[in-house]
């Protein structure tokens, strides 16, 4: 059948069971490498015994364990994906993607700290136009959000900013002390988005805009989940 003598067959069984001591295990592993019949026999035994493991009640490994494992996988940087639930991994990958498309400077990549570049414009009273210039640190093209306070709307024209493959860039309006409010996507088209009718000039003046990287269709539950890649305050002259 297996072509092994009883001694070899039992060594294979005990190897699978785990009762060989360290020296015997090492010797058997060396023998398996030379003789596929031994390897087959050990595998057969492991298969026979494996259903025993089904009876062991599951124990969840700690949070973050997968990230630890993934950090040891060979480079290159993994592709963007949607399945990751881990922010650190997602961030690293997204940054790799952003670098590829030349959108974000290496300085941003290094820190993800976002410096703000705010331009002042003259605006007529009483419903001033405002501008938020959202820029990553470095020399990349800033993202300009024009806030038309009178019309309670924002205009975004970001022809040069392209979302990374398989992701969307979502714009958020964040009034002081309030939850971010989705303001549409940055997708190379000019778009106009209404601000909340309840927003006062003061509220708008104190608000910030931010752009995060989200799954296609936007952050689940209407809230941002991905890393912030642009942000800046509203400014008025």
């Amino acid at each position: 059948m297996s072509g092994l003598d009883d001694n070899e067959a039992m060594k294979a069984a005990e190897y699978a069971l785990g009762t060989l001591d360290a020296a015997e295990r090492a010797a058997f592993e060396a023998a398996m490498a030379r003789d596929s019949k031994l390897a087959d026999a050990a595998r057969d035994w492991a298969n026979i015994l494996a259903p025993l493991a089904q009876g062991v009640p599951e124990v969840s490994p700690p949070e973050g364990m997968f990230v630890r494992i993934e950090q040891h996988l060979p480079s290159p940087a993994p592709p963007l994906r949607l399945a990751s639930t881990d922010d650190v991994v997602r961030l690293r990958r997204l940054l790799a993607g952003w670098r590829r498309i030349g959108l974000v400077s290496s300085a941003l990549a290094a820190s993800l700290g976002v410096a703000l570049l705010v331009r002042h414009v003259s605006v007529p009273a009483p419903a001033p136009n405002m501008l938020a210039v959202l820029s990553p640190k470095g020399a990349q093209a800033p993202l300009v959000v024009r806030v038309e306070a009178g019309a309670r709307q924002v205009v975004v024209a970001a022809a040069s900013i392209r979302p990374p493959a398989g992701r969307s860039l979502e714009l958020w309006y964040i009034a002081k002390g309030q939850k971010p409010l989705a303001m549409g996507f940055i997708d190379q088209t000019r778009h106009v988005q209404a601000l909340p009718a309840s927003a006062t000039d003061d509220e708008i003046r104190g608000a910030i805009f931010a752009v995060t990287v989200e799954p296609p269709g936007g952050g689940p539950n209407g809230q941002p989940t991905g890393p912030i890649v642009y942000s800046g305050p509203v400014s008025i002259d």
Binding site: A50, Q54, P57, F66
Partner: protein
């Protein structure tokens, strides 16, 4: 549509698919971690072993062959081998520390045996083994008990334990082959 099985994930992992690797981890890690924890009896060590096991799964996935056993059995085998290497190399034969808090979460291995399904006939065949010999076999499988530890526990010479284990394994094999 048939839900994705572990075998599908392993095949995708073999192609370097990291999404599949994550899915495989999510599906398989709680059972593998439980098996490892039971063997090494220390959470930090079990985490190290689990990491090693998944890196081996990643590297070895191209060699996985479904005609030679299920993906589950393949992964359990990797996990047990690494855990047993760990405990054998650390010479902790009779002095392995029990991480009591962690072990409290892990059910008695005899309960584990009791929850075996009859599907594979393994449970039935285990019942044919004499009680002491069966207990030896299960202590070795679930707890990584060495022959020396078993000898100490049963007050028998090491050679007797070896004979018990061989008889238990032979009975198991005969029974399973007789059924198939």
């Amino acid at each position: 549509m048939k839900p994705l099985q572990a075998e599908d994930h392993v095949r995708a992992v073999a192609r370097g698919d990291r999404i599949a690797f994550r899915a495989l981890y999510d599906a398989a890690s709680p059972r593998l971690f439980a098996v490892i924890l039971r063997l090494v009896r220390n959470r930090a060590a079990a985490e190290d072993v689990l990491q090693d096991v998944f890196l081996r799964i990643w590297r070895s996935a191209p060699q996985f062959d479904v005609s030679r056993g299920s993906a589950q059995a393949w992964m359990v085998t990797i996990a047990r081998n690494r855990a047993i290497d760990h405990i054998r190399q650390n010479h902790a034969a009779t002095t392995r520390p029990d991480d009591e808090d962690e072990l409290a979460q892990v059910a008695d291995p005899h309960d584990a045996e009791a929850s075996l399904s009859d599907r594979d006939g393994l449970r039935h065949c285990l019942q044919l083994i004499e009680a002491d010999k069966r207990a030896c076999l299960l202590a070795a499988y679930y707890e990584g008990a060495s022959r020396e530890e078993l000898a100490l526990h049963y007050g028998q010479p090491v050679n007797t334990i070896k004979t018990w284990l061989h008889r238990a394994l032979a009975t198991l094999r005969q029974c399973l082959e007789g059924k198939s």
